[in-house]
Symmetry: C2
Subunit: 114 residues, 2 copies
């Protein structure tokens, strides 16, 4: 579930959210958005975690700011964003960042972290 | 649990990890590191989520790359990093990014997202 990404620079969209109690259709739409994001130009990868308290962080990775803007304005995604604001999230923050350094360590290959 | 941050630019450390099964001392150390990070110069805030599958994302926010380097090399944090690599995490990725845009929406105040 660690995304395999190219070397920096690339861009990250950090989406932090507190879920509301209402749950209707949320999971299916969230899965569909992950599937749809992966089909967009410039998509590099995604990581997501949500705790039992309903607080979650999803980070998607993109090759450029243009790719992020295009995904933001994708038609089906716009519908999901509206439902998220109206129904699914009590609060959220969206932060767009340029990744400048990265390091990873997997169970298979050590090294990479210095 | 959404961090209240100044306007960009600032920096984000995105730490994604898959927990190993061994759990000993993990929670106490994780809580201590959150407490200790908040005392460091340049610390702005932190957000964290981990699912039942053991995959988690913690994003800490900092005023500068210098502040991030200083925190990376803080003595007690170095000890925790070593135990994380050896014991607590099956794999992890660390990505350092410059936040260029942000927007938030809270339950109290709508707006901010355009």
């Amino acid at each position: 579930m660690i995304a395999q990404l190219p070397d920096p620079p690339y861009y990250a969209v950090i989406f932090s959210s507190q879920r509301a109690d209402a749950d209707k259709d949320y999971n299916a739409t969230a899965e569909r958005m992950v599937e749809l994001a992966a089909q967009q130009p410039g998509y590099l990868g995604i990581e997501s975690a949500r705790g039992a308290d309903g607080f979650g962080i999803t980070v998607s990775y993109w090759s450029s700011l243009q790719a992020i803007d295009a995904w933001k304005n994708q038609a089906e995604h716009l519908v999901a964003q509206r439902r998220g604001k109206e129904t699914w999230y009590r609060e959220f923050a969206l932060r767009i960042a340029r990744v400048e350094r990265s390091s990873t360590r997997s169970a298979q290959a050590t090294g990479g972290i210095t």
